[in-house]
Symmetry: C2
Subunit: 415 residues, 2 copies
């Protein structure tokens, strides 16, 4: 048996001790983690510097990898905030006595062993460890090789906090970063209960293709905002601009504006200035191209078919003009990645139809798609935004790190 | 685009109309299905006979494939019983107003398009169609080629019932049985939201390996009963015999008896007669072999390592004698498939520890593992027993044919 599999087995065995530990013990581990991060901040920043030194100064991931004293403070706050969330395990979901007298209870229990594969950001190491420990789950972490030194010292801290509460350090295992070991993780069905990939589209595709372990897909967000005939245009412009420019690199940012033909000219005239100010590149369909060209919009290109259903992750978007509501719905149904979709309208029946008919994790009426986020929804830190439909949809946070268990208490019942 | 993919696309489009139909309309479809099954019973039996004629008379699947007037009555009753279950969609799971005034509601909604791959039993066709229609889901069915004529007439009946209520027949699509089209289904991530394999271990393994669509694994049940030191032996024998012999071909039947050494001789002496009467073949570890040999048990074999963790699906089981409770827990943790596990004991703290520590979909104290079943649990017909931890664990029934949707209603909120 490989040493990795042997370690998975130890992690699986150790999981039960954490699952059966009290909520108070688990929270004490988190508080000790927070304390140690503060106490060892100089060491952490030194280890982080070793990782940074190995990255070229213009590497796009440099900023994501970098820890600073301020970011460590955020990390400590994030760990403490997890202690304040309710324990998701131990809830009674249903309880009944069957006609034969068997007392049947369905409760929430920890998932078991959660595997998380992630890329450069070292805060994920602490966030995932905190969420898993809080909910009674063991964790197998596979971080990026770029962050090796940083992740190592952070997991050392987690281990010290576990030891202080008498819980085995096997409960949180940081895997070596060898690429081929990812396959070992993805096929370890006996030891790993769920795998959550957190990172690039390529990583998510690999996990989807290769994993034999059930996974939570945290995927792309191709998000639309439909500006309807009756939309208040001031609000429409505000929401659309916010959804596009407030943080274009994240999955809940806007990708395509769908405009009712009757308001297209006026809307585009009003959006011209804020979009120009943020240098938003527009991939426009024929109708919107003509309008934007006539008002002299500087960053204009004709949309190709591939610009619809495209996740831009940048100061760029596509625009589609439609003749009616049903064409808007059809466009969204075709190109949506079922993450977050919005309608801007003053017509309540139209809004309600949209909220009901559009198939997405989150649907909004007169609000920005940017709200799809565990913190915004009041769920605390999230492991990712689920874009599939099983188990969790939308922010995958502490409350979803559980499964169910049926408990039957009898007096010798047989069937 | 292949014709199959084009049909998947039509099914996905049609799904929304069913999801937005009223619960009353969906139930009317089911009632009409039940009526048509009764009216067309002669035709159904004729089509079924065509399938039976193509199977050799000693084929083990013949009985599963065969429909009879009595089985059609059961099928009608099963459809009617689904109309009496509560609609799983449209429930409010949480509702709050964020500090910025955004009204956020999480509700249950249909999954969308459910793919089910199954083998000979034609009743699955009607059960799955009824469960999906009731819950507002479209269904893609891939039945066995053995049941082609039977499934075709049954889906015709479903289509007539859909048409009568003005719902597109695309909502329930019976795929051709070409083997390679299974791959088309397993990779159609754009059109299929979840796939549920229902059948042999080989089918489940293929789905696990090949599917890019999220799946619900309905897997093997390697079930244990631990007879503890303080167990009432009369009850222990009754429960163990029931769990083993009442229906050995199903996944919740008993596979391994774990015996505390102090009661092993007496328990085995008492189980000898009922096991002999049912011709239960025993694969015994060293200790239990010696005991059973001394009492002259006729169907005895020495257990190989592979007989632990083995799903027998027959009048056969393995026996393991342990020195204490922790050895019993370790044995179960190693060999369980996390389906159903039982303890027979009169020691309540021991029972509670077992119920908490054993990682399985269903855990029982002084009751047979055979209770793990949607009907027994009061959930109605089930699509299968989930042995994985995401979304559903244990019986996968109507209540789990939903996902969540976050709905945000605002007045122009931005972030």
């Amino acid at each position: 048996m490989s040493t990795i599999i042997a370690q998975f087995q130890r992690t699986r065995s150790a999981a039960a001790s954490l699952a059966m530990a009290s909520g108070e013990t688990r929270n004490a581990i988190l508080r000790h983690m927070a304390l140690l991060i503060q106490e060892k901040s100089v060491d952490i920043l030194q280890e982080n510097q070793k990782d940074l030194d190995q990255m070229s100064v213009d590497h796009p991931m440099l900023d994501r990898l970098k820890l600073t004293p301020e970011r460590l403070v955020d990390l400590v706050e994030s760990v403490i905030s997890v202690t304040q969330l309710p324990d998701p395990a131990g809830h009674i979901l249903s309880q009944k006595t069957l006609p034969n007298g068997l007392e049947l209870t369905k409760i929430t229990v920890p998932l078991g062993v959660v595997g998380v594969i992630f890329e450069s950001r070292p805060n994920v190491t602490i966030d995932v460890a905190a969420l898993c420990i809080r909910s009674g789950n063991a964790a197998v972490l596979r971080g990026g090789s770029d962050a090796f030194h940083t992740n190592t010292i952070l997991v050392d801290i987690v281990h010290q906090a576990l030891t202080q509460q008498g819980i085995s350090t096997d409960v949180v295992y940081l895997m070596p970063t060898d690429r081929e070991l990812v396959s070992t993780l993805l096929t370890a069905v006996k030891y790993i209960d769920v795998i959550i990939p957190r990172g690039s589209e390529a990583l998510i595709q690999r996990v989807r293709k290769e994993s034999l372990v059930p996974t939570i897909e945290t995927g792309a967000g191709v998000c639309h905002a439909y500006v309807a005939e009756s939309a208040g245009l001031k609000m429409a412009v505000e929401v659309v601009v916010n959804a596009k420019v407030s943080r274009p690199s994240v999955c809940n940012s806007l990708d395509t504006i769908v405009l009712h033909r009757s308001i297209a000219s006026e809307f585009l005239a009003q959006v011209r200035e804020p979009f120009t100010a943020h240098a938003v590149k527009v991939y426009a369909d024929e109708s919107s191209y003509a309008i934007l060209e006539s008002v002299g919009y500087p960053l204009l290109e004709k949309a190709a078919e591939a610009d619809f259903g495209r996740e831009f992750l940048d100061f760029a978007c596509s625009i589609k003009v439609v003749d009616d509501f049903s064409e808007a719905l059809a466009h969204i149904a075709t190109y949506s990645s079922r993450h977050s979709e919005a309608i801007i309208t003053s017509d309540e029946p139209e809004a309600n139809y949209f909220l009901s008919a559009v198939d997405a994790a989150a649907v909004y009426w007169n609000a920005s798609t940017r709200f799809t986020d565990g913190g915004q929804f009041g769920l605390g830190a999230e492991i990712g935004i689920s874009t599939q439909k099983l188990h969790a949809r939308g922010p995958f946070a502490l409350e979803k790190l559980v499964t169910e268990k049926w408990i039957g208490k009898g007096q010798g019942q047989i069937r």
